[in-house]
Symmetry: C2
Subunit: 463 residues, 2 copies
């Protein structure tokens, strides 16, 4: 059931963006770079799936803050958590949690966050953003790799001296392999694995790490079964070749279950099963980046559940809908051999974990993952029909049986986004020409008609 | 005035750490690496300068969560902020603030956070940790450096193609110079500039960036004036030499006003003035890392105010006592030439900025910076006297006229910390053999006697 207060439909009163957005954006620009501001929002007036801007325009929001609002604006369960004495204490008494955790820390994790841990992942390291989570995961992978090499030998004096100089062997030349078109974040570690767009990477020094081709599947996939299987095989072979030939050891592989910023690129469960097998053969870590796919939108709590792996992934990173961040891991050896190697002052934010726990409550209590799987199936079916009417506007529809994690290509995504927003739909793009749907987990059957109507109007006007 | 509810003195009831800490630590260790846990704290029972553990022991806290609690546990002004409708909204409706800021975002920054901006720094980029702030500052420095080189020429196709492969010229070989013994964080960028301890760096790939020697001054400084000046000159010459000879261009210099994790190492205002002059000559960015020194503890709001620079620093990073993080900057050119180059989903956390604004309120209303300067002077004088009684236990006392940012060397800092904690004082160390004082900004004259008494007892027992 949609929240009681949610509007029945979008309503647009001004040009989009409106004059109030323009004026506030201009003032904002005096203290920070506001060029990216699209709309200024009155969150107090926003509710459920609907977002209201400062010009009084109300949009059905299927972009959800770059896929990060999980259960709707002003969700009552989250509001309750945000007013709890526990969160007030976490906000005002922020500890160096690795040294001086609160007496509530254990429950926040064990009875809270760990409910979200992927099957087989028994431990967590908290963080504050997806980029940080991936950086931390890489560090864990590097330490685990060197631990195997070092066996039971202690750190040598020479290793310690060279580490301080950023030189090998103490600071070794090791790599993380990522895939072309992937997005893993923008910090120096994660950005070295990100391969989405030049605007993310230009002028920034990067580690000399390798990229393999991610499968480029053809759609509808049922018509290209063998071709797609060959494409995946080709990419896996490339991974093997790189591991064998790269100038330094590859200590880990990072992969998104669905490449999101890169254009919603999918691969089959078999591809990922074999990728895990490659990682196991080389005794390196497989890091599954579920920053965007995690927490239910694909119709499973974690997208990698679709892979039915024979053993859990080594590391799963999360953020966005979790409203906090970090990595879960399955192997005790991914704990460093000594304390304080993986450490920082705050190690996450208990206040944000309290919000995350309310998100998990809401997801479990209301069976939102299962519902998203169902609603997604209806939405996908509707889009198939619409696509058959507008084949020039909607190509390569993908995300079947992946909840509401649905996307398609269109000739000019920028124009379509603008048109959709003028019709009261806030929606996002990715890759070069892809429209991605990223509704919240409370997106329901009743939200499909206004979304479809806006697509139809846009397509017919653009045709 | 100390908060009404603050205890009159420390009280220790059990062995330290006590049985409840041990037992919770053991349980915590099943879900995360809890080896670093020193005490489990009941923050609801902690107040002002005093922290109470789950065993009922109460300590005077002059470590303050690795220098990050600004105005006391359960500070009433912060409690009020943590219960405000604004923070509730920020917690439950977390935007992708670069795209869809709230209508309150402008006021939170312009009338809030920007009150803390160093003189001449007119802009801010919000972040979530000191490490992230430094990484972002490096990216800004790199983009600005390349912008000068590129002049008004557009990005070339070749730059864009190579950037995607982590290769020059698109992803250029550029460096940030840092100082030996510095600590700037643990993400891949910041860790490449951190030079504190092998445990921070071992096994982690690092950029081939240079380090210069930070002055190693002798104390008491009034007895070593010429020697110390020569030492500083030697280090500055080393900086010049590195910039001229490093294998790639140095695009920025990062420096702490007082090297904190590295052992509380000071340098004179003249040293920093000349460092800025070097940066200006080479048209590279000077990044002042005030993550630990910022927000008042040195007796100025920003420690770099002591330098009386003729023009503002290019970039000042902050975190810890700010309870949020980011960088302030002074030069319009440190905004990238295009939108979306410095960007991420959350770009800080408005909830944490609301807490920061309450911290700033408290600092300004209660003149806590000025008070810290005064209390620090008394504390320093008392320590001089104590040091003259225990010259074997207290050496190289430093931090005169730097508020409560005071430190000294001692033969076995680990033993002293343990003894102090058994006497009800929670205190920290840094470097190889340094005790650092990091009380909160509400540390008062009345807190000096219990602290001094514990030092005296410890020293006499250890002598």
């Amino acid at each position: 059931m949609a929240p009681v207060s949610e509007p029945a439909a979008p309503s647009i009163r001004t040009a989009v963006p409106g004059p109030a957005t323009h004026s506030i954006k201009e003032e904002l620009d005096t203290v920070l770079d506001a060029r990216t501001v699209q709309m200024v929002i009155d969150y107090d007036k926003s509710s459920g799936n609907y977002i209201t801007d400062v010009d009084g325009n109300t949009y059905l929001d299927v972009y959800a803050q770059i896929a990060s609002i999980p259960v709707g604006y002003n969700n009552p369960t989250l509001l309750e958590a945000a007013r709890s004495p526990e969160i007030v204490s976490a906000l005002v008494n922020r500890p160096a949690v690795g040294n001086f955790p609160s007496h509530q820390w254990l429950a926040l994790l064990r009875e809270g966050l760990m409910r979200a841990a992927p099957l087989g992942c028994t431990q967590v390291f908290p963080a504050q953003s997806g980029s940080e989570a991936n950086d931390l995961a890489f560090k864990a992978a590097f330490m685990a790799y060197r631990r195997q090499q070092r066996a039971s030998n202690p750190w040598t004096e020479y290793e310690q001296v060279t580490a301080m100089k950023n030189q090998a062997p103490g600071s070794p030349d090791l790599a993380i392999l990522s895939f072309r078109n992937s997005f893993h974040g923008r910090s120096f570690g994660s950005l070295s694995t990100t391969r989405s767009k030049p605007v993310h990477k230009l002028d920034i020094p990067a580690f000399k790490w390798p990229q393999a081709t991610f499968p480029q599947l053809r759609y509808p996939s049922e018509d290209h079964v063998q071709e797609n299987a060959q494409e995946e095989q080709r990419c896996l072979q490339e991974v093997e070749n790189i591991i064998h030939s790269w100038h330094c050891p590859v200590a880990g592989i990072i992969v998104e279950p669905i490449q999101s910023e890169g254009g919603d690129n999918h691969a089959s469960p078999a591809f990922f099963q074999r990728l895990q097998a490659i990682a196991k053969t080389h005794r390196i870590s497989l890091i599954v980046d579920e920053v965007q796919t995690g927490f239910g939108a694909t119709g499973k709590f974690w997208a990698h559940e679709y892979w039915e792996l024979s053993s859990p992934p080594d590391i799963v990173t999360f953020s966005k809908k979790a409203q906090t961040a970090g990595y879960f891991f399955s192997d005790e050896k991914l704990r460093p051999d000594k304390a304080y190697r993986q450490f920082n002052t705050w190690m996450g934010d208990a206040a944000r974990i309290i919000i995350c726990n309310a998100v998990i409550d809401e997801i479990l209590d209301k069976k939102l993952v299962e519902k998203t799987a169902q609603v997604g199936a209806s939405l996908y079916d509707s889009l198939v029909i619409l696509g058959s009417k507008y084949p020039d506007r909607m190509q390569n529809l993908r995300g079947k049986n992946r909840g509401t994690y649905i996307a398609f290509d269109t000739p000019d995504s920028g124009v379509l986004l603008k048109k959709m927003r003028e019709l009261g739909i806030n929606i996002g793009s990715c890759g070069a020409q892809t429209i991605r749907l990223r509704p919240m987990l409370i997106f329901e059957e009743s939200h499909i008609p206004p979304l479809l109507a806006a697509f139809e109007t846009s397509f017919s006007q653009l045709a």
